[in-house]
């Protein structure tokens, strides 16, 4: 029944898309389409929560698709968790778009694709056989590609679309191969059959690497992330939120489904790869983000960082599980899933904020913004909450999930393998480093964009965004707060999924009691008490100041050591804020260079400083691959211009060669 309702929801979403195709040009279509999408997503969320709370696993096979195979769907605990994430993000984005979408220049290029894109993501999660999974996965890629190139007037967006297309094709190829290996020669595509016959230890490494490449390229792990910071910002605001907050989570789902569920037991050596890839991704993602001055691109790179954190959690869960430390595996896996949920909340929120700013000012470049807290006060508050949450500050949700990951890392001393025992502390240090860098990055993102004085006319004359957009942002901000002060609510919901894949679960959290990472541990955290303590202390301080201090406040000019600078461009910019970090870290990783051009004395020309960054992923991976492809295709080019005699000759020679091979084949 529930699965039927879930599929009806997807059919409704496709129907909405069809309706949008016909009506998109009309002014009134926007509100109707997005409201209907929001309702469908909220229904999907309700279904997911019912499945999680009721612990049912409804399944259904439909006689469509490949003849005699059909399509299988199932909502097990893992699917329900991700179904909830997809639909929550989808509902928030739709509500945001009720207001935001009105500013869309070409609604017919966006409106029909959003509901269809959501339906495709839902179907990936619902799929219970490899065929349905891959079909939906490809649909998700294509529909999001259409949204990326919806504003195709700029060369930048077209390039983003091209690179995305190539990477999506590569990712699907890797997943297709992974499923081919998993299915084996039996030819039964259902997940139940794949699970039943398992995969031989020799091939499990191949499958894990393929899954890591296939799902990882969609999620944005280094070095397959290159398309992500180009494609996510190119799309309209709510679609960026969906791609960063939700689609990357569907990719994580694909990885978890293959590696944790379908593959069966995984050798511990493979977990080293996952942890290493995750740690490198987290660190490089945040370093890339710090170097940006485009707000949306900065947020997209932060998605890369958070995916790295999630993969470190998943890798630790694999390591613990392979050594039979079930409680620790449950903790690491819960932490990863909780971070999936948290990241979908705050990243959607931050992308909504950047979308609202782009609508209000027409700018994405932080160096032309500033002082928005005065003209967009409510957006500023919501963005600040999201920024604090993603920077892992207590008592918000980002801190809760990172705290759990650190607690899991502390349990690594119980592992029997030397490699992992040395590796996990190092990965934890890298995560702490990236958390601190993320805090620096969001001080920059919020401080340069919202604080200080306006750096352009557009920024000083911006207007607060509309009600629907603000509602969506504050709903997500409230979600960040609740998940932070009561993480137990969410870890309890995750228990069935964790139990299913790690054969253990985190201790059940009864609400006012603190969260314990493993049973009988004293390392507990109670976000509620901490939040109350800080609020109480703030009240005491505020009252103390009211009673004992001089209450007068005088507004005056800025002091600035007696040399206030009237020119707004003398303020710190995104580039100057990141300069110390660029010098310390990026001079090694990105080979960042600075060149100062000083005019000769008496010359009134302006002095200039030029900075250059070299992206290692492009230099070491993409550029050589691109060159190889162009060399090979250059060599093959003459074959396009042969005469018919040559072509016939080639066919004949090929035939002879193939027959010879067949003749001598044993």
């Amino acid at each position: 029944m529930l699965i039927f309702a879930a599929l009806i929801c997807q059919a409704v979403l496709v129907g909405i898309a069809g309706f949008a195709v016909c009506t998109a040009a009309a002014r009134w279509a926007n509100g109707i389409v997005y409201s209907a999408t929001a309702v469908a997503c909220l229904t999907g969320l309700g279904i997911a929560l019912t499945c999680l709370l009721g612990q049912t696993q409804p399944a259904l096979a439909l006689p469509i698709g490949i003849p005699w195979v059909g399509m299988h769907f199932r909502i097990d605990a893992l699917a329900a968790v991700f179904l909830a994430v997809v639909n929550l993000g989808g509902a928030a984005a739709s509500i945001f778009a009720v207001g935001y979408g009105r500013h869309e220049q070409f609604p017919q290029r966006v409106l029909p694709f959003v509901p269809a894109f959501l339906a495709a993501m839902n179907l990936v999660v619902l799929a219970d056989d490899a065929f349905t999974f891959l079909l939906s996965w490809e649909g998700m890629s294509l529909l999001s590609w259409a949204l990326v190139v919806s504003h195709d007037r700029t060369a930048e967006n077209l390039r983003a679309g091209l690179i995305y297309m190539a990477m999506a094709g590569f990712g699907t190829l890797a997943l297709l191969t992974a499923f081919a290996v998993l299915t084996g020669s039996g030819g039964d595509f259902t997940f139940a059959a794949i699970r039943a016959h398992g995969v031989s230890p020799a091939l499990s490494g191949v499958v894990l690497w393929l899954a890591l490449m296939g799902a990882g390229s969609k999620a944005g792990i280094f070095p397959l992330h290159a398309w992500l910071p180009l494609a996510h910002p190119a799309a309209p605001g709510h679609v960026s939120a969906l791609m960063s907050g939700v689609m990357t989570k569907v990719a994580v789902y694909g990885f978890v489904r293959i590696v944790f569920d379908l593959m069966g037991p995984v050798d511990w050596t493979l977990s080293i790869a996952v942890i290493a890839v995750g740690a490198v991704t987290a660190l490089l993602g945040v370093l890339y983000a710090l170097m940006q001055h485009d707000l949306k691109r900065l947020l997209a790179y932060h998605t890369v960082e958070n995916i790295g954190i999630i993969f470190v959690g998943l890798g630790m869960a694999l390591a613990f599980r392979s050594s039979g430390l079930a409680a620790a595996a449950a903790l690491a896996f819960t932490a990863a899933l909780f971070h999936v949920f948290n990241h979908s909340l705050f990243k959607s929120l931050l992308f909504f904020g950047s979308g609202a700013i782009q609508n209000a000012t027409g700018e994405r470049d932080m160096d032309r913004l500033g002082g928005l807290i005065r003209v967009m006060p409510q957006t500023a508050v919501a963005f600040l909450i999201g920024a604090a949450a993603i920077s892992a500050l207590p008592p918000l949700n980002g801190f809760a999930s990172e705290w759990m990951i650190f607690q899991a890392a502390f349990l690594s001393a119980g592992l029997p393998q030397w490699g992992l025992r040395l590796m996990i502390p190092a990965a934890a240090a890298v995560l702490a480093l990236s958390a601190a860098l993320a805090a620096a990055c969001f001080v920059k993102a919020f401080g340069i964009t919202f604080l200080g004085r306006a750096r352009s006319e557009a920024a000083s004359s911006a207007k607060e965004t509309d009600k629907a957009s603000r509602f969506a942002m504050f709903a997500l901000a409230a979600g960040c707060g609740v998940a932070g002060i009561a993480p137990g609510l969410y870890t309890n919901l995750l228990r069935p999924a964790v139990q299913m894949l790690t054969q253990a679960a985190m201790p059940f959290a009864t609400l006012p009691a603190p969260l314990a990472p493993v049973a009988a541990s004293h390392n507990t955290y109670n976000g509620l008490v901490i939040a109350l303590c800080v609020v109480a202390a703030m009240l005491i301080v505020a009252i103390g100041m009211k009673v004992f201090a001089n209450r007068r406040t005088r507004r005056s000019d800025t002091w600035d050591c007696g040399h206030p600078e009237a020119n707004v461009h003398a303020q710190y910019t995104a580039g100057s804020f990141a300069q110390p970090i660029r010098r310390v870290y990026a001079s090694i990783v990105f080979r960042a260079r600075e060149a100062v051009h000083m005019p000769p004395p008496c010359d009134l020309a302006a002095a200039r400083i030029e900075t250059s960054l070299n992206d290692p992923a492009w230099i070491l991976l993409y550029a050589p691959v691109g060159r190889a492809i162009s060399v090979v295709s250059g060599r093959l080019n003459p074959f396009q211009h042969l005469t018919i005699r040559y072509y016939l000759g080639i066919v004949f020679v090929t035939l002879v060669v193939l027959l010879t091979v067949l003749a001598i084949w044993p």
Binding site: A413, A428, K444, C533, D560
Partner: protein, 315 residues
């Protein structure tokens, strides 16, 4: 005495003693420099004077600017109250382990850095940007120290760590010494003391913490100053609770035991003030870009402690 009473007593005393510690450091520094120096109670007078004055706020400031000092003082206070000072109180310790306390301090840093950017002055931006740079190495370093402590003591809860080290006859662990050195270095970095930053500087280009709070005045500055003193007290309490927990009264102790614990604690504060002052006058301030290397040493000490402990728990 009940847990709650002890907890409240510690919180109140932390706030009350914080300026005294700052005063002691300044007095010792003055006498080491053969100056007379102000009385050790001068910081109290400074804070009272600032509170009597009106606050001047720039036209360009948003609500972040006046709100930040209250939040910073409150969160630092909560963090300081969570560290066992002179008696063990389990009241709040189940709510926050070591990582949470560090997280609270990270939130205060976040708020202060935003306040530095709020008015849009170059000095504010400079201070914020450098402060966040210093934090990037300090946070992994402190996490490694927590990792090492959790390997030794089996817990990340401060009360339990202190209780473990107090209760057992801990042979002088090498890793414990490394962690001690690392935490002491981090305390210097986090509190903006020489050689990392100079709390008494008058040269703008060398400032970090002072550059961020340059625009503050009146009651706002009083809160910032009090929070800075409290942070110093927090680190002294933290180091003494983790590495020298002797003299801390047990949970449910009598009034006499607590009084004894308080006397021992005051003695520890005085010794810490002397040592810090001696360290500060014997070293020159370093360039900003040397600081990550200095903090990096603390990170390496932490990593080394963890690796040694993984090799053998007896190190």
């Amino acid at each position: 005495m009940s847990d709650l009473t002890v907890q409240i007593l510690q919180a109140v005393l932390a706030l009350a003693l914080a300026p005294l510690l700052t005063g002691m450091v300044r007095k010792t520094k003055a006498s080491l420099q053969r100056r007379c120096g102000a009385s050790i109670f001068q910081p109290y007078r400074d804070i009272a004077r600032l509170m009597r004055k009106e606050a001047v706020v720039s036209h360009d400031a948003s609500w972040i600017f006046p709100a930040a000092p209250t939040f910073i003082l409150a969160a630092t206070w909560v963090a300081a109250a969570l560290v066992p000072m002179f008696a063990f109180a389990n009241g709040l310790s189940s709510a926050a382990d070591f990582i949470v306390i560090i997280g609270l301090l990270a939130s205060t840093r976040f708020a202060l850095a935003l306040a530095g950017l709020d008015i849009g002055t170059s000095f504010g931006g400079l201070g914020s940007s450098r402060e966040m740079l210093f934090a990037t190495v300090a946070e992994p370093a402190i996490l490694m120290l927590i990792f090492a402590l959790s390997l030794i003591c089996g817990t990340t809860r401060l009360v339990d760590i202190a209780g473990f080290i107090q209760g057992t006859q801990v042979a002088p662990h090498i890793s414990l010494l490394l962690a001690f050195a690392g935490l002491a270095m981090l305390a210097v970095v986090e509190n903006g003391r020489i050689p990392v930053d100079n709390p008494a500087t008058h040269l703008e280009l060398t400032m970090v913490h002072e550059a961020m709070v340059l625009e503050y005045s009146g009651r706002h500055l009083a809160q910032i100053e009090l929070a800075a003193s409290l942070k110093l007290l927090f680190y002294v309490s933290l180091i003494s609770a983790v590495f020298l927990p002797w003299g801390i009264a047990p949970a449910g102790a009598s009034l006499g035991q607590i009084a004894l614990g308080l006397i021992v604690y005051l003695f520890k504060l005085a010794v810490a003030a002397k040592l810090l002052a001696f360290f500060e006058i014997s070293i020159a301030k370093m360039r900003v870009f040397r600081v990550p290397q200095f903090t990096g040493v603390a990170l390496m000490l932490g990593l080394l402690a963890v690796i040694l402990l993984l090799v053998s728990r007896s190190f």
